[in-house]
């Protein structure tokens, strides 16, 4: 038990993934993940941020075993899963690691009542108790919804309620790792914060490890213990949320932070500065780089060119 507590929930080393696309003759390869190293501690929320197409969803899908990486290792709850479950994930893995998707409208069967949706997950994963009714009530209340919702169909619920149902379904299988891919981006703003608070509570009360995938830096700062930043498949910077965002070192992180809407900002947007950032980001991506620790206490590190004497 003690060794289990010390190992992180997820430990990824050197993960690579390449997609081929384009026509039959002009086939091009895109590196979606490039030598990714990432730990997610038990009871820790790590935010994975980046622009669309940066590879962040691919990483989450690799951990969920919805994609197979080309190479690298992935230990989940101490088990080297790419070795032991080579072809496909076992059912036990699927109960340990669960994914919450962006679209709460598409992820629930419209013809089934909520109680049926949840009971099915409980039965499938062998988690159903004899008093299943009480179990369902517990489950629905744990995501902040009243028991009456159990009798509803998905279309009778709001987006925020549906996303809570999706999370309840995930909780039904008692996962230790939750991968949440933009879980609030399709929700109305006033209920978004409620879903974020719910994720924080799952971490605090159940010690669930959560990978929160988002392009919204402000919400990442609000929710996550740590943030890692991905640009074109490479993790370029990471560290404790506040330390990282207060003093970002990588030009890509600096550009992302500068792009967050901020009514308090007094300097107008400068397209020339944006171009300089883009040039610098491209130069950094080309150069042979190394991972440099900025600050031990906050675990702040940056992936930067070896030659550069200063960041």
């Amino acid at each position: 038990m003690s060794t289990q507590e010390k190992t992180p929930a997820v430990r990824i080393r050197g993960l690579d993934k390449t997609f081929a696309h384009g026509g039959f003759r002009a086939r091009r390869k895109v590196r979606a993940l490039n030598a990714v190293d990432l730990d997610i501690g038990r009871g820790e929320i790590v935010a994975l941020v980046g622009e669309s197409g940066s590879g962040k969803s691919t990483l989450a899908r690799c951990i969920a075993r919805l994609e197979s990486p080309d190479s690298g290792s992935m230990e989940v709850l101490g088990e080297d899963v790419l070795r032991t479950q080579r072809r496909r994930a076992t059912k036990a893995y699927r109960s340990d690691v669960q994914m919450v998707f962006q679209d709460p409208f598409g992820s629930l069967n419209p013809t089934q009542r909520i109680e049926h949706v949840l009971a099915r997950s409980l039965h499938l994963h062998g988690k159903a108790r004899p008093d299943i009714r009480a179990q369902l009530v517990e489950l629905i209340e744990s995501v902040g919804l009243p028991a009456e919702v159990l009798a509803s169909f998905p279309h009778e619920l709001s987006g925020g309620q549906r996303q809570r149902i999706a999370i309840a379904r995930v909780l039904a299988v008692e996962p230790q790792v939750i991968l949440a891919d933009e879980p609030t981006s399709m929700l109305d703003v006033s209920v978004r914060i409620g879903v974020l608070n719910l994720l924080a509570r799952l971490r605090d009360e159940r010690g669930i490890a959560i990978l929160y995938v988002t392009h919204d830096l402000a919400s990442a700062r609000y929710l996550a213990d740590r943030i890692v930043v991905m640009n074109q498949g490479t993790l370029v910077e990471g560290g404790e949320s506040l330390a990282l965002l207060d003093a970002p070192r990588h030009p890509y992180t600096q550009m992302l932070v500068g792009a967050v809407p901020d009514p308090e900002r007094t300097t107008p947007f400068d397209p020339d500065e944006r171009r300089r950032y883009r040039t610098q980001i491209a130069a950094w991506a080309e150069a042979p780089s190394e991972r440099v620790t900025i600050d031990d206490a906050s675990g702040h590190w940056v992936w930067k060119p070896k030659e550069a004497a200063h960041v």
């Binding site: 669309s52 309620q161 402000a218």
Partner: protein, 303 residues
């Protein structure tokens, strides 16, 4: 100062056999020449309904059942079809939600832009092409891309093209309905800066619709917050930033974590919160209006 656009007691109903639902309910707001007015609120609050009513684009089962819309003193709701066709695009243009998908996929960008000038201005093809080049330069896209098909441009570029097309005939009012919702923060910022710059150059007024309060505060001069078809608060952006008066506005603002400052727990709107009996706007400070009403939180039942 007379307003460019005046909306007065506008009522839009969505009518079915059993009942009529008010999508916009006695909405009154005006936009001055060159002013940026934001309409904020969540899905279903009626902000797009107001925009579509102004453009006379509502279709069955929606119908305007009361109120007036005046553009530079002219009654928009009584314009003839011909007058309307001329007024749209030339005097008021609209960029729709996910407009970047509204380009015709099988037609080159340049031909689509040139179309505006040949159709509305009866220009020659050659002159229309020259105008297309000018427009592309206006939104800083290489005019060589005029030969491209929509799928060959990025989402941000497509959105820029659509905005450029809306500005083509130098309208006095531009309606932007969630112009950056489908885009990344980085591209979103570039496009908003572009809109601001175009506005400074061309001097049009903007009706800007979004659910994102931080964007709205950054771009707008004045902001109206809508809930259940009604405007619950209307104030200069600076006044809302300093102190929103309506509980719903406060909840919207409170729902956005900040990128700076201390990290403190936030609460949005509690599940089941409802505002009812929303009255007419009352001026609580110069230029700052709030609608009185009741707030209830239902804890049981959800339908």
């Amino acid at each position: 100062m007379s307003a460019l656009l005046e909306i007065e007691d506008l009522v839009v109903e969505y009518v079915s056999d059993e009942r009529a639902v008010r999508g916009a309910d006695r909405v009154s707001v005006s936009i001055g020449e060159g002013e940026i007015l934001g309409l904020a609120g969540e899905s279903g609050c009626g902000k797009s309904t107001v925009a579509n009513a102004v453009m006379r684009l509502l279709k069955e089962p929606a119908r305007i059942s009361g109120g007036a819309v005046r553009f530079d003193g002219q009654d928009v709701l009584r314009m003839s079809t011909e007058r309307l066709r001329d007024w749209r695009w030339r005097e008021t243009a609209m960029v729709f939600q996910s407009a970047m998908n509204s380009l015709i996929p099988v037609m080159r960008i340049g031909d689509q832009i040139a179309d505006i000038f040949t159709t509305h201005e009866k220009m020659s093809k050659r002159a229309a092409r020259a105008e297309a080049v000018r427009l592309m330069e206006l939104v800083r896209i290489d005019p060589a891309r005029l030969k491209a098909y929509p799928h060959q441009l990025s989402g941000g570029q497509r959105q820029r093209v659509v905005i450029a097309m809306a500005c083509a005939l130098r309208p006095r009012l531009l309606i932007l309905d969630e112009p950056t919702t489908a885009l990344d923060v980085v591209v979103q910022q570039e496009i908003l800066a572009e809109i601001k710059q175009l506005q400074a150059e061309l001097g049009f007024a903007v009706l800007f619709i979004t659910h994102d309060m931080s964007l709205m505060l950054e771009l707008s001069d004045r902001i109206g917050v809508m809930y259940a078809g009604r405007i619950v608060e209307l104030a200069p952006a600076a006044a809302l930033r300093q102190g929103a008066r309506h509980a719903y506005t406060q909840a919207l603002l409170g729902a956005f974590p900040s990128i700076t400052g201390p990290r403190e727990r936030r609460v949005g709107l509690a599940e089941g919160t409802r505002f009812t009996d929303i009255g007419d706007l009352v001026e609580v400070a110069p230029g700052h209006f709030v609608a009185p009403g009741d707030m209830t939180v239902r804890t049981e039942g959800n339908r």
